[in-house]
Amino acid sequence: MIINVLWETVTFILIMIVCIRTVPFRRIREAVANFLIMQVITWGLGTVIVEFKWKVHPVRMFPEITRQDFMNDYFIYPLVSVLFYFYYPRDNTRNAKIGYTLAWAGAIGLWDFGMDMLTELEQYVHWNAMIHFMLSFLALLACNGFTHWFFKHPFPTKQKVESYGQK
């Protein structure tokens, strides 16, 4: 079905365009770190989810060798996490931060639910949009927190270069 291909390509291209326009080159390390930590989460969780057949992906990349949705877990969720990090209202009130995170998790939940309803890219077995919403909420906050901690002392620094090689 054409909708499967359309769904994946449109999502990927849109997110790629927004990412390229959002991330300034001098902050590329933050984007990379956030992308990578989200990949760790999606790889681990995605594997567990399909191992226990909580979700199935009838149409997917590399269908012969994996049951996991490689496209989403390798590219789309990590890129979404990068965008979440870059637009996070760091100087705003606590309520604004919670509302912001809820909105992103809600959008991801809806997107995933739409994928379940409209396409063959995934089907919920023991899963629902609410679990997806809550997991997205936690994962986005975790990646955001990790990246924030990671760049408390920015990379690359002069001090870091000088102490390089010492334990």
């Binding site: 390390r29 990578l36 990949q39 594997t47 191992e51 590399f62 990379f155 390089y164």
Partner: protein, 162 residues
Amino acid sequence: MGKNEYIELSIWVVSIALMLFFIPRARIREAAVSFMFTQLLSWILGYLVVYFGLLSYPKHFFATATDTSFTYEFLAFPAISAIMNVHFPTGKPVWLQIGYWLLFPTVLTLVEIVLVHYTNLILYIHWAWYISWISIAATMLLAFAFHNWFVTGSWKRPRRMA
């Protein structure tokens, strides 16, 4: 649980223990970024070698989810790569640096040869030990260059020591 499962479980234990033992607290961020970047490479490369039928993993964890070796690609290889990058002998003689870099793929390949011969964890189809060695060495070198770029701003091997 049979022999294969015990060996695979012991790989988890050994990898985590090695990371806890060899990665100093002060350099945990460097180690994390090496670890995660190696995962990015090993995830897709691991898929490709199985997809093209070069290797297969007859017994492995998460057999329903994937046909690739989750243990090796998610944990063991990134852990070794992170340890290598963090302890690279900067400022030492060049022969020592080259020897250090060659040591890691050699040890990993030796372990792999043992696993091929004595367990069902890995099976060579259109593959040989030297292809393993070359691919591991190349991936680690790429991860090392990325680590250097991330930490020092230049992908080249850092020359001086404070």
